[in-house]
């Protein structure tokens, strides 16, 4: 389990987190749900270690590897699809292992035919699928997804969601999933934290079950949030 204990973080005069506590269960998908600017990304980046904290401590991440699906694909546009995934695997796997891993993940996101395409030639949805394949191909323990389906139309969003669940089921890891889309939150997560205020507070911790009535109830709860 990852534990954030008494974390404080401010940007200039803006106090985003004050004595903030939260845990993320191992190999579960935990959603941070809340309005834009509340500090969801900051919490995730603190876990990933790319944002320094002013006070507090982060437990349960010793020697963890992270992968990240950002809002935008963040691919290297001078490389092709295959090389973009290879780029993050080079320091971790041997060359022949890499070929196998990359091909299998490209297959999973249905981009095998496009592996030699430059990133510029891809549509937004395809580029984000590469980013998803990159995140799963990397042997991370913790995967952070920061509004990864933002800006995609509903059809693509649903495709991406089921793709994500398929990949997660075949290679489970701790996921921190950030969104302010109610449907996405309910469909993909095991646990939902609803966040509000500044400095941020956890308003609710919801465990999502598979019972349909229950889902409706959670939906109403999130919408009223």
């Amino acid at each position: 389990m990852i534990k954030l204990i008494d974390i404080s973080k401010k940007y200039d005069d803006l106090i985003l987190l004050k004595d903030f506590n939260i845990d993320f269960e191992k190999n579960k998908i935990t959603c941070l749900f809340g309005p834009s600017g509340v500090g969801k990304t900051t919490i995730a980046n603190i876990v990933a270690g790319i944002v320094p904290i002013d006070k507090g401590c982060v437990g349960g991440i010793d020697n963890s590897l992270f992968s990240y699906v950002f809002q935008e694909p963040r691919l290297l546009k001078w490389y092709n699809v295959y090389e973009n995934i290879d780029f993050v695997l080079k320091d971790v796997y041997k060359p022949d292992e890499r070929v196998e891993i990359i091909n299998s993940y490209l297959n999973m996101v249905e981009l095998s035919e496009y592996k030699n395409y430059k990133v510029d030639a891809l549509s937004g949805g395809m580029a984000q699928r590469v980013s998803l394949a990159r995140a799963f191909a990397y042997p991370s323990h913790i995967l952070i997804m920061d509004e990864p389906f933002k800006g995609l139309d509903n059809k693509l969003k649903n495709e991406m969601s089921s793709l994500f669940l398929k990949m997660w089921n075949s290679s489970k890891r701790t996921v921190i999933f950030i969104t302010h889309d109610v449907e996405e939150a309910i469909d993909l997560s095991h646990i939902i934290f609803t966040l509000k205020n500044r400095p941020v507070n956890i308003i609710n911790r919801i465990t999502v079950s598979n019972i349909v009535n229950d889902k409706e109830e959670i939906k109403n709860l999130l919408l009223s949030h």
């Binding site: 790319i50 590897l65 992270f66 992968s67 963040r74 490389y79 993050v88």
Partner: protein
């Protein structure tokens, strides 16, 4: 096809127009020592082009220009990357670059004559004049690197050396290329200037100097036409290489 013929035709007309202006001015002035006619300049050029020595001279001057240029590219790009990434390195080098930029070329040439053999003076001067341009452009390129990509590299724990070769370098390539193109043009100018003062045996600069001493002004014009053409030729060559690189990268 038709368009390009028309474009070339209009280019040719523009060149002819300026040669005509030159002709008229030389007729008005009517003294070859101040302004030779285009005809005199081009026949001087023709005389040069049939002489073997001219090509040896062009070979050596080209060698000096390119040697200075390559030295400045290698050090400029290397130190530029270092300075772009490490602020202390930038702070250390920046004052030196500012000084090199502001020192008059002539001072550098004269001091270089004291330090080096005649043939190496132009190489050193071209290097010193081109280096700040390449360095500055490389630093700007490195700094233009998308912070989001660097954050991605940080999350995936990419080795620093690979971040430099796969992210920083590619991001700054357009800046480095632009810097190299302008540095090459300046390289030709300062190499000839340095040759005029250091007078290596085979050098365009020596011929420029001689034409001044012997008042052979049409020769001066002819050699100038050669320098301009060489500069243009190598710039086109460099641009073509870059274009080719982009296409097959």
């Amino acid at each position: 096809m038709m368009n390009s013929i028309l474009r070339n035709k209009s280019k040719l007309l523009i060149i002819l127009f300026w040669i005509l202006i030159w002709e008229i001015l030389s007729l008005i002035i009517a003294q070859e020592i101040y302004l030779p006619s285009p005809h005199a300049a081009f026949s001087a050029l023709m005389n040069l082009l049939i002489s073997k020595d001219t090509y040896i001279t062009i070979y050596y001057s080209t060698y000096r220009t390119l040697a200075g240029f390559f030295l400045s590219c290698v050090t400029g790009i290397f130190l530029g990357i270092m300075s772009g990434i490490h602020k202390p390195m930038y702070n250390l080098l920046n004052p030196l670059i500012i000084i090199i930029r502001t020192i008059p070329v002539m001072s550098i040439i004269i001091i270089a004559i004291m330090w080096f053999r005649d043939t190496n003076v132009p190489i050193f001067v071209a290097f010193l004049m081109c280096f700040p341009i390449i360095w500055t452009n490389t630093v700007s390129g490195i700094r233009s690197t998308d912070i989001k990509l660097l954050q991605m590299c940080e999350v995936y724990k990419i080795k620093k050396s690979r971040v430099i070769s796969s992210v920083y370098l590619y991001s700054s390539l357009p800046y480095i290329k632009a810097g190299m193109i302008s540095a090459l043009g300046i390289g030709w100018k300062v190499t000839s200037a340095a040759e005029v003062l250091s007078l290596p045996k085979y050098s365009i600069g020596r011929f420029l100097y001689d034409s001044k001493v012997y008042l052979e002004i049409p020769d001066l014009f002819a050699w100038t036409i050669i320098i301009v053409s060489l500069s243009f030729l190598f710039e086109t060559l460099l641009k073509t290489i870059f274009k080719y690189g982009d296409k097959y990268d």
